[in-house]
């Protein structure tokens, strides 16, 4: 699948896969595809940063390779590793067979057969469908040395394995980095990327997203859900619900056959949107009713 030629085409293609995005996000995605630059997405948890990589992979029909970052992630788990147990077995087998040719054995032990490819190396492999999409998720969770390592990997798209040689990507992968901003990512890395802050969608867009993801939810209910969740986001709570939570909640309500939001239903299912006890305690009481009343008023006037 070739890269869409205009911003509108990007928006359309993404919408086909169920990812409804704004013009702003479509613009940066288009630029990132067109200029071949990594795309750095920041934003609150649950606004759809990871989702965009999946949607892109789907609509461009490319392979999605995901590197989930965590503290202590190092090059060996991100790029490649030698399969040590398999190498040991190969040595033992050769010994048991007797008369092993040491040179040939050595050659064989450090061949591609014993190489475990990790996401970064996989992303540099040629693919008949075209360059894969490399999702480096939650970059803010790694430590700074790994970030520095990425700098090199992202600018050259090549990896040197001493025993094999340099492997260079025939076509650089489409890279998407995401961060929840629990810590500041270094400017040097950001400078190599196009940046976009993914915000919570506005009312109409969120209704659209919910409709695309859960078509079974009735229009009135979905409007009520979105108005309530958006009202919740303006409250002073510890963790504001993201789009993912909205969709989860809609699924819950669907499973319970709810047709109209009521304070009782909300307090029963609050765990689907609020993930902190303090928040639930705060909203669970009379607050939920007040927000719901406001939300219903908003739906009616709209």
């Amino acid at each position: 699948m070739t890269i869409p030629a205009t911003i509108d085409a990007v928006q359309e293609k993404l919408a086909e896969t169920g990812y409804v995005c704004g013009r702003a996000l479509a613009t940066v995605v288009f630029l990132s595809l067109k200029l071949g630059r990594p795309l750095f997405l920041e934003g609150e948890a649950g606004v759809g940063k990871t989702e965009i990589a999946k949607a892109l992979a789907l609509c461009l029909d490319r392979r999605l390779i995901r590197l989930q970052c965590y503290e202590g992630l190092d090059a060996s788990s991100a790029v490649y590793e030698w399969n040590f147990p398999a190498q040991m077995i190969a040595i033992r087998t050769a010994e048991a067979g007797g008369g092993a040719d040491r040179g040939a054995l050595q050659e064989e032990l450090f061949s591609r057969d014993f190489l475990i490819e990790r996401p970064l190396l996989q992303a540099m492999r040629p693919d008949q469908r075209g360059a894969p999409i490399l999702l480096i998720d939650e970059l803010d969770r790694t430590d700074e040395p790994f970030e520095a390592f990425l700098l090199e990997a992202l600018s050259d798209f090549q990896v040197t394995i001493p025993e094999i040689g340099t492997i260079k990507a025939p076509e650089p992968p489409i890279v998407i980095l995401t961060s929840n901003r629990t810590r500041e990512v270094h400017d040097a890395l950001k400078r190599r990327c196009l940046y976009h802050w993914v915000d919570y969608p506005d009312f109409d867009r969120e209704v659209e997203i919910l409709h695309a993801r859960e078509p079974a939810v009735s229009e009135t209910l979905s409007k009520q859900i979105i108005a309530f969740v958006q009202g919740l986001r303006t409250e002073d709570i510890f963790k504001k619900p993201g789009v993912a939570e909205t969709i989860d909640w809609a699924k819950c309500l669907l499973a319970l056959d709810v047709v109209d939001l009521s304070p009782q239903v909300i307090s029963d299912t609050l765990g689907a949107i609020l993930k902190y006890q303090d928040d639930i305690a705060k909203i669970g009481g009379g607050e939920a009713k007040r927000i719901l009343d406001e939300a219903k008023a908003r739906v009616e006037t709209a």
Binding site: R23, A24, K34, L35, D187
Partner: protein, 417 residues
Amino acid sequence: MPEYVPLEMPETPRLAQNIIHFARALRRAGLPVGPGRVIEAVRAVEAAGFTDRMDFYWTLHACFVNRPEHRVVFAQVFRLYWRDPRFLEHMMSLMLPAIRGVQEEKRAAAAEKRAAQALLGDQMPDLPQPEDSEGGTQIEIDASMTMSAEEKLRSLDFEQMSTEEIAQAKRMLARLTLPVKPILSRRRMAAPLLGHRLDRQKTLRAAMRQGGEIRALARAKQRPRWPNLVVLCDISGSMSQYSRMVLHFLHAVANEKGAGWAKVHAFTFGTRLTNISRHLATRDVDAALKAAGAEAQDWEGGTRIGQCLHAFNRDWSRRVMGQGAVVLLITDGLDRDDANALEKEMERLHLSARRLIWLNPLLRWDGFAPRATGIRAMLPHVDSFRAGHSIASLEDLAQAISRPDDAGEKARLMALL
């Protein structure tokens, strides 16, 4: 590899130039924009094409912004730079504060002032002309700043500064630090040198392992530790201009890495006490002060020092002053409440602080005498009493803060009580 079309735009030869100037405006507004980004922006604009103003906006946004707090600044600079019909109005709004005095500044939206100053800080050769400029209003700003001007600014009262001077002063304040001497903690660390105190426990422990024979005397010295800084800043009406500058200064102190303070806690008070420590950690000074301002809802109201100190002593004192914090109290001490209660709270504050330094802008007047009841109640309970009305006085503070015996003007004023 992506293929770039050669950078040729014969039909709009000024676009690239305009983007360059736009980038320079952004840089002046505080965004870290390097030449590499500019080249990329030109390429990106070329790739995206010109269909609609919002595309253009987001294209440049993707290239120039890489921090969420920069989005506002970018939006403002963009709005001003790319032919906003209300361009002239904004130019005028920049000029107004200088004419009408500093009180007007608060009206400008976040980052708008910075955007305007970035654009108009000096004359821009290719600034797009406003469409409705036939009136011929000519605005010239001379932003040349010489060393001697900086010297002059140093001793100028914050309240007498013009907008431009305030901007310059803020830049100077941002460079100031409060260097502090480490305090010696009760924890000890091994010290190989002779002359440190003998560590008897460690010597004996070592001896036990050696079958009771003492082979060497272990010595230890106290481990140095940095103190915390707690700032209580008065933001009532009479203090507004000073507290604004002091908060700028505090932002610099709180964000200076390795300057010595273990932690900086800041509180504002007027009619009620507000903890703004969290906001000071925001990198962008304007965003930080805006957040602090939104949190503290008593800007430029009255003052109830006694009650606010009571709230501090009750709710925060034990949490933030546990490890020998230095307290900086910034207020003019003009309080109409019960003086006895105020004195009691001051005493309490003084007893729990390692050092209590009072910065009072009123001290700039030569004939200042502690006549107000609030000041009379507070003065006996501070370690040091200093002026805080200009850059020079804050610089003095920076030097005095590491002198343990510094009392500022306290002795002189105590004699007047």
